[in-house]
Amino acid sequence: MTGQNREIEAAQSLEDFLQSIERRAFKTAYISTSSKEDALDIVQDSMMNLAQKYADKPTNEWPMLFQRILQSKIRDWYRRQKVRNQWRTFFKGQNDEDDLVESAPDLNNNKPDDKFIQTQAMHTLENALQNLPLRQRQAFLLRTWEGMDVAETAEAMQCSQGSVKTHYSRAIHTLREILEDYR
């Protein structure tokens, strides 16, 4: 096989892989951020990171590598939000005009995410997941949705297996309390 053919085949493998995970990755990021734009940014960055740094790794390592990147990006997003919120809180008392603009209701109700959420059940589930602490949500989604075992989840979250079990157990119990209908 020539070098060019190998290159085309590698690109096709990467394309297929990214296509197979992109919707799920977006949904995971969306549940974590509650923002379509931020979720798309996180997924795009994760894809780019995988392509630029790990495309030459064996294809069977890609799912775990991608999950690690995605979860790290989501954690980074949380850290940035935390800092931003601290600044917002700090300036809140100092500039009332900004505060009024920010808190004014959207009369046209043109929130872009509204279109995205199509069913009430899904809306409830997403809300419940969004209200979970970050680590609990990550553990829950990786174990339940991605089908990872405890060890894989620990690797993706870069924490101990004991922590995964604790986060997962707490997430299940919190969600069961909120989502009675799913029992």
Binding site: E7, A11, L14, L18, R23, M47, M48, L50, T144, I172
Partner: protein, 127 residues
């Protein structure tokens, strides 16, 4: 995890999986763009790596370098095989003495005129 928890988790998993089909077209288009960008980036990186390797080691150089390697190995083998006998001769006491002289910090003139001093001493003792 008990059975009830498992059933609960499966229900949520099903709900989440179903929701993947509800993602709107705008998001899907942007995901496709992101994927294309990522794949292109990987291809560019691969091409750059190939170019660097090609520049550092052009294809035509491969046979030449193989021939050079064989020639070098043959040269070293012949040289070792036919090396002069002195290289394999063990160090004699004379050579050891020379080393002692050369590594000494004494004045070299003393050693250059050593024969003269030995003769002088001999003359003194006989006279």
């Amino acid at each position: 995890m008990n059975q009830s928890d498992e059933k609960f988790a499966v229900n949520i998993q099903q709900q989440l999986s179903d929701s993947l089909n509800d993602i709107d077209t705008d998001v899907l288009n942007r995901l496709r763009q992101a994927r294309t960008l990522a794949v292109n980036a990987a291809r560019q990186k691969e091409s750059r790596n190939t170019d660097i390797i090609s520049l550092a080691f052009p294809q035509w150089l491969a046979p030449a370098s193989t021939a050079t390697a064989f020639a070098t190995i043959a040269f070293v083998a012949i040289t070792v095989w036919t090396q002069p006998a002195f290289l394999t001769t063990p160090l004699t006491p004379t050579i050891i003495e020379d080393i002692a002289v050369l590594s000494s910090s004494d004045d070299l003139d003393l050693y250059e005129n050593l024969d003269f001093y030995i003769w002088l001493e001999h003359e003194d003792s006989t006279s």
